[in-house]
Point group: C2
Chain length 131, copies 2
């Protein structure tokens, strides 16, 4: 089975577990650009990918504006050297940010390990004092 090439708003809402209000809001912010059949919104696979990107961004604490940037990194825009240069810079910024987040995650994971260890130790001591 090949990919669907269009989606309804409710369909996307269910798939990604967001409300239709949220999806319309993203459109308002210029992050999604569904076409219309009558007055009903029809979403393309590209819209679906964009939505996925937004939600992934959210999990990493990105603002909608930042996710908008990311989405635009994908749109093959008829670009001149200026814009391509700026693009490469933006990519580099994001990469730096992601690197920092990686470090943050690693530290937090170690912290969690330590916290778990202490909790287990405390449990153990409870056991022993209570034979």
């Amino acid at each position: 089975m090949t990919l669907k090439q269009s989606y309804g708003i409710g369909e996307l809402a269910r798939e990604f577990d967001v409300t239709t209000r949220t999806i319309r809001f993203y459109e308002d912010q210029g992050l999604l650009t569904p076409r219309r059949r009558g007055q009903t919104r029809i979403y393309s696979p590209a819209d679906r990918v964009a939505l996925k990107l937004i939600l992934r961004g959210k999990r990493l604490g990105f603002s909608l504006a930042e996710s908008g940037d990311l989405i635009r990194l994908y749109q093959p825009t008829g670009d001149n050297r200026q814009q391509l240069g700026a693009l490469l810079e933006k990519i580099d910024e994001k990469r730096t940010q992601l690197q920092q987040q990686l470090v943050d995650i690693q530290i937090m994971q170690q912290d969690l390990d330590a916290a778990e260890e202490r909790a287990r130790q405390a449990l153990k001591e409870l056991e022993e004092s209570d034979v």
Copy 2:
């Protein structure tokens, strides 16, 4: 030189590049608990660590409430089995979340790689068409 054992609010603000308003706000939220000398706040190394944790959390999109949870994972509270059980669960939740974020970061990094590749390709074509 051994660690300082107390800090002023401005000092912390400078070190972590936040405003004093922000630091006081965190106290309001119960995330910091400085003692007082007169009416002036004096921060302990533990407060400083907590602040660091909060800001790290922010970089990963954690809410202040979530960072509050993390901070509490560190406070050796006189715990009973119930609480320790809940603690271990919380730790596990956070671990799962961090794992998801790791995956998200990896995907984004690949996306950035692809975007950079396309940008470089576009640049190259511009060069060639413009001998």
